[in-house]
């Protein structure tokens, strides 16, 4: 099926003439005037520093939760907790140990990254200095 040609240039000329005749004005406000919110955090880009702080504060896993509520139910839960302590506690200790080592590794890597960033910054400054000399 053949297509009909549309003279877009002619249409644009008509539109531009109409805009001029009627005195239509472009809005003073452009998208560039709208600031990108610095406080806004994408779900997937939570503050790196906040996550580091969280890891260092909460790496330890408790083997139990506080028991509250009806005294009879609390008593029963305490008994169950004591009976299963021998099984649950080693598992939570293992997890805590793993979390601790992982947190240490992440802290060390963070320190390395900060060091490398500083070194990179110094290199850029040195390159700039050399380029300015030329």
């Amino acid at each position: 099926m053949a297509k009909d040609i549309i003279d877009v240039e002619e249409i644009m000329t008509q539109i531009r003439e109409e805009i001029k005749e009627k005195g239509y004005q472009l809005s003073d406000l452009s998208f560039d005037d709208i600031e990108l919110s610095k406080d806004f955090h994408n779900d997937f880009e939570e503050s790196y520093e906040e996550n580091l702080k969280y890891l260092n504060s909460y790496f330890a896993v408790q083997s139990y939760l506080p028991l509250v509520g009806n005294p009879l139910f609390v008593f029963v839960k305490k008994v169950i907790r004591k009976l299963t302590f021998f099984y649950v506690n080693p598992i939570s200790e293992q997890q805590t140990n793993f979390n601790l080592r992982l947190t240490r590794v992440i802290n060390e890597q963070h320190a390395m990254i900060e060091e490398l960033k500083e070194e990179l910054e110094n290199q850029y400054k040195y390159i700039e200095k050399l380029e300015n000399r030329e």
Partner: protein
């Protein structure tokens, strides 16, 4: 010989994923032994399609063929070169990372890595298919050495005959408002701010009884969405509706309601939404950028200006000129004929035949 499609992520409703699944059906119909392998697989697809497997299960023989869908940054872009068999790349394009600066470091890095990977991949494939001439031209500039062909995305047109959401249709139908529509992820390269600005001027100077639907998911681009929300508030423009992530029947409803489809996107590798608009017989006004004119090929009204006042004038001109609108719709219908499932499928099979005769037999 087996044909394996490989991609980094196969997800629900994604254009690349839909294309992959459609090509799989085509290959299976032709009697080829074929499967799909991906790094990330949407659970819903995994349950429905038994032929999708994790990439770690991919084992190739020398006479197998990998069809690799390239659309983003991933280690797979480098791993794919290690498979010892013939390879076809289907290039869907990688958004230039600059669009995401300030909005998403993750998206910026992924796109940057994807663009860098193209340099590595330029001599790793035996045959290349691009969704558009724009995509092929990009690869030519990079220095790809393989024979290259254009193949539009295989679109599941049957899906558009499904029933639209009556809730949405009844909410907005026949209320005397002109509905302007843009469909696409809320993403900086799609320039939703330009659509909003053009709509603002259209509503102010031409038609106060108008409404803008921006249909698309902002997941991952929350900071850009916030900036758009602030822009709408600062302009004081009413009747701008961001739908967010909605079910398919609601998307169909918005297409049913639309009087005009406005695309101001600055970067597309193909742009399925303009094809969808043409399918729903909605006249398209589009900014002349990247692959959009390739996809429209004479359909719609493609303009070189992104001046929102001028675009608003174009919108009004089209909506008030019945003859122009009819011409546009006629041209769009003609273009749709060449994007039909059977036409694109036949073209794919021709390319596959060419590949097997000229590139594969040589081994």
């Amino acid at each position: 010989m087996r044909l394996f499609q490989v991609l980094t992520t196969i997800s629900f409703g994604d254009a690349v994923s839909n294309d992959t699944l459609a090509l799989h059906d085509t290959l299976a119909k032709q009697g080829y032994a074929t499967k799909v392998f991906a790094e990330n697989i949407d659970e819903r697809l995994q349950k429905k399609h038994k032929h999708i497997s994790p990439i770690k299960k991919l084992k190739v023989a020398r006479d197998d063929v990998i069809i690799y869908h390239m659309s983003t940054g991933t280690k797979l872009n480098y791993d794919i070169a290690e498979y010892k068999c013939k390879k076809i790349m289907i290039y869907h394009n990688v958004t230039p990372p600059e669009f995401f600066k300030g909005y998403s470091n993750i998206a910026y890095n992924l796109c940057d890595q994807g663009r860098q990977a193209l340099e590595f991949l330029k001599d790793k494939f035996d045959y290349v298919i691009g969704d558009s001439q724009y995509n092929i031209d990009e690869l030519k500039k990079i220095g790809f050495t393989a024979p290259m062909r254009v193949l539009p995305i295989l679109i599941p047109f049957d899906d558009y005959s499904k029933k639209p959401s009556s809730k949405i249709v009844f909410k907005y139908k026949d209320d005397g408002y002109t509905n302007i529509l843009f469909t696409g992820r809320i993403a900086p390269n799609k320039k939703q701010e330009d659509v909003i600005s053009a709509f603002y001027h259209y509503k102010k100077y031409y038609n106060p009884k108008s409404r803008l639907f921006l249909v698309g998911n902002s997941s991952g681009m929350e900071s850009y969405q916030k900036r758009l929300d602030d822009y709408v508030a600062a302009l004081g423009v009413e009747d701008v509706i961001f739908t967010g992530h909605i079910p398919f029947d609601q998307i169909l409803a918005y297409y049913t309601l639309a009087d005009l489809f406005l695309c101001m996107s600055n970067h597309e590798g193909f742009c399925v939404p303009v094809v969808e608009a043409m399918q729903f017989a909605i006249p398209v006004v589009a900014y002349n950028s990247s692959a959009v004119p390739d996809t429209l090929q004479g359909g719609g009204l493609v303009v070189d200006t992104d001046n929102p006042l001028e675009v608003a004038g174009v919108m009004n001109h089209l909506l008030t000129n019945a003859e122009l609108k009819d011409t546009i719709l006629k041209n769009q219908k003609a273009r749709l004929a060449s994007l039909g499932h059977e036409v694109v499928e036949a073209r794919f099979l021709d390319y596959l035949k060419e590949f097997l005769e000229n590139c594969y037999e040589k081994q």
